[in-house]
């Protein structure tokens, strides 16, 4: 069950009622306590591409990697009609839709447009929780007096995004983040859906369990074993049973969620839970030296991002995916949090060696740091044999060089390309 299956692909502008979805009429909508808005840009990457090349409009467009192992990052609605969706291998997408126009992702362009959209949202209320480049929650409690009810604000946002950026978005309006997100998914594209609190349960209960936030493949299977297929099934199961079968935290969480109760507030600043980077090889790699070099490159990237965001991580996670997609992750928690690539790489290299996959062909490797804390809070126990200026200092200088001369100006020699003129 994925979100994709919840999408109807038809624009909706309505409100949930006891008899299903009804168009929003002239009467005042029942939105008094529905202060959470979920704004979701429609087919964001491809829409930006269409904006840049108007000739693309109406044709199937795919944004994604073009290499032999490229993956679809986004597909516009015409392409989706052929069955193309994100995270699908590009080769398969092109078999399904040979006429599609493929564009490589242009992160900088998407971020520029995203920033402009987020500015519009922040002009409505500072209570904006940005989830990703094309998605955000808003708490409009404080904006109602100035701008009117939540549905009115949702309309305003939609028209401003369209008017100022030429893009469409869908907005879900509800009392909780969970319901608001389901609402925007349901009304896509270019839609608006209000789920009044009185009708949340009725709206949720026919949905498959996979619609519940926190239910992935494993949990879905566990629920299916219990004979629970819809959200309503979960709602009618005693919470004790859910806690017993799924564990305390998840069981209690789902019992609440199935009734539309979601205590999460809209938080303006979400600290990252982890920082990671991964690489899919163009063809499977078996050579341990090449894998280690790739781990070093990813580690450098992760550590640089940690330092740039003023964070340090405690747990090093290495992800290794074999040619047949079987994936192992191995983690190690360090004595103290670090943002030094050299220290992360020591652990990452040892995790790779201990994984038993040395010499096994891999298609993907990844490095991630978890257990993040602000770098200002880390304390480093100095050791007797530690030089005054260690790797930490060296890597800070490296950051400085890269800032002035650009990426690739400096880095570990192991990652340097061999220069033929070099002796």
């Amino acid at each position: 069950m994925s979100r994709r299956q919840l999408e109807r692909g038809r624009a909706v502008r309505g409100t949930v009622t006891a008899d299903g979805i009804a168009p929003l009429g002239r009467a005042d909508p029942d939105d008094a306590d529905c202060v959470v808005l979920h704004i979701d840009m429609d087919a964001f990457f491809t829409s930006v591409e269409e904006l840049r090349s108007p000739g693309l409009r109406g044709r199937p467009v795919i944004v994604g990697g073009t290499g032999p192992r490229g993956v679809v990052a986004a597909a516009n609605y015409p392409a989706r009609e052929y069955g193309v969706h994100s995270a699908m291998p590009m080769s398969r997408a092109l078999r399904m839709c040979p006429d599609a126009v493929v564009r490589p992702p242009d992160g900088a362009a998407y971020r520029r447009v995203s920033a402009a959209v987020m500015d519009i949202l922040r002009s409505v209320t500072p209570e904006v929780e940005q989830l990703s480049v094309d998605e955000a929650f808003l708490d409009v409690s404080g904006a109602r007096r100035r701008l009117g009810g939540p549905v009115r604000i949702a309309e305003l946002i939609r028209s401003r995004v369209h008017g100022e950026q030429g893009l469409t978005c869908s907005v879900g309006v509800a009392a909780t983040k969970f319901a608001a997100k389901l609402a925007s998914t349901r009304c896509k594209p270019d839609g608006l859906l209000l789920i009044p609190t009185a009708h949340v349960a009725a709206f949720l209960h026919p949905l498959p369990v996979g619609a519940l936030w926190g239910v992935g493949d494993k949990t879905e299977q566990a629920l299916r074993r219990l004979g629970l297929r819809t959200v309503g099934d979960v709602a009618r199961t005693p919470p004790e049973t859910l806690r017993h079968e799924l564990g305390q935290a998840l069981g209690a969480h789902l019992a609440e969620l199935a009734w539309g109760r979601d205590p999460r507030p809209v938080t303006t600043e979400t600290a990252d839970k982890s920082v990671g980077a991964e690489e899919t090889f163009d063809s499977d790699v078996r050579d341990p030296e090449t894998i280690r070099r790739e781990l070093l490159r990813l580690t450098e990237k992760v550590a640089r991002r940690l330092r740039a965001s003023g964070q340090a991580g405690r747990t090093v996670v290495v992800k290794l995916r074999r040619a047949d997609f079987r994936t192992v992750t191995r983690s190690r928690t360090l004595g103290e949090p670090t943002d030094v690539a050299r220290e992360v790489f020591t652990a990452a290299g040892e995790l790779y060696e201990a994984s038993g996959l040395s010499g096994v062909p891999l298609r993907l490797v990844g490095v991630r740091m978890e257990g993040l804390v602000p770098a200002g809070q880390i304390h480093h126990q100095l050791a007797l044999d530690e030089p005054d200026q260690g790797w930490r200092a060296a890597e800070r200088v490296q950051d400085e060089v890269i800032r002035r001369f650009g990426a690739g100006a400096i880095g570990p020699a192991a990652l340097a390309f061999r220069d033929e003129d070099d002796v």
Binding site: H379, H380, L382, L384, E386
Partner: protein, 384 residues
Amino acid sequence: MRFRADRDAFADAITWTARALPVRPAVPVLAGMRLDITDAAAGTLGLSAFDYEVSTRASVDVQVEEPGSVLVSGRLLSEIVRNLPPYPVEMRTDGSRALLTCGSARFTLLTLPIEDYPTLPSMPDVTGSLPGDVFASAVRQVAPSASRDDTLPMLTGVNLTFSGGTVFLAATDRYRIAVREAWWQPRSPDVDTSALVPARTLFDTARSLTSGGNVDIALSAVDGSGARATRGEGMIGFEYAGRRTTTRLIDSDFITYDSRFPTEFAATAEVPVAPLVEAVKRVALVADRSTPLRLSFGQGEVVLEAGSGDDAQAAEALDVKFEGEPMRIAFSPQYFLDGLGGVESETAFLNFTAPTKPAVITGAPAEEGGRPNYRYLVMPLRVA
């Protein structure tokens, strides 16, 4: 074999010997404790245990009725004797069993094949000796600074250096170095050698010493001239009140630590040990192992602080004598407490160089202008 023994003396000797019993024996017979009566006239029972690294041997006076030897589960025997009622103990072998009676309690133990039991390493010749209480306190001062992480074996040991009439004990885990020196009586006045002893074993051995009497220290690697024999076969023995422990040495060189102690300091505080320890423990209640204890030294005062930001916080001030530039420095609370814990005098000296450089804690020297016999170097925590 058949004998009668006093319950308390018997229990004490067995409990002591059981220290060398391996938790997970490499071969089944090593789970056994060996009981030997070689000579009916001597009236002593020998006890021994061994785990290939450490061996223990004790003896206890008994009324011998029949000499002999037996090997029984050491863990079980020590459990039993610790719980016996207060009556004389009688023990005898009967075929493949050993029978133990005490008052109206009776136990039947299975015996292990004594012919498979390895020969214990013999106690090397005595190199010298020192008072048991001095040895015990010296070990207690330095052993906590040894590392518990096996990746670098050298760091899990206490290094004993015997140099003429002085013995130095030192341990480090890369973050601090504890050094204690003491007088001892070498058999040969020009002895000059060292031994790296597993800290765990040394600590257990020292803990079992009660006051009074000397500990004999025997190094197998020392011949008459004081030179060291081949590596990897090093062995050290401790004998105290008729009880002997031997342990294999860690086959590695210890760091040269003397040069790591700074000789010049930017500031020195003279602090009352007990009140400072109490204050540190109070303030450290809000800190965990890796969060810093922050110390700010100024004129006549030190302010201790722990915790910051959104977490619980604590602070306390204490009067101290302080000379030098004001100093703000942070330590792991445990490392700092371990250092103060080794000071035996009422006042301690805290010597500082810089906030990111080693600090040195010492006790007051025995005589004015003398050298302190305990030194503890500790690396600070760098606070972001």
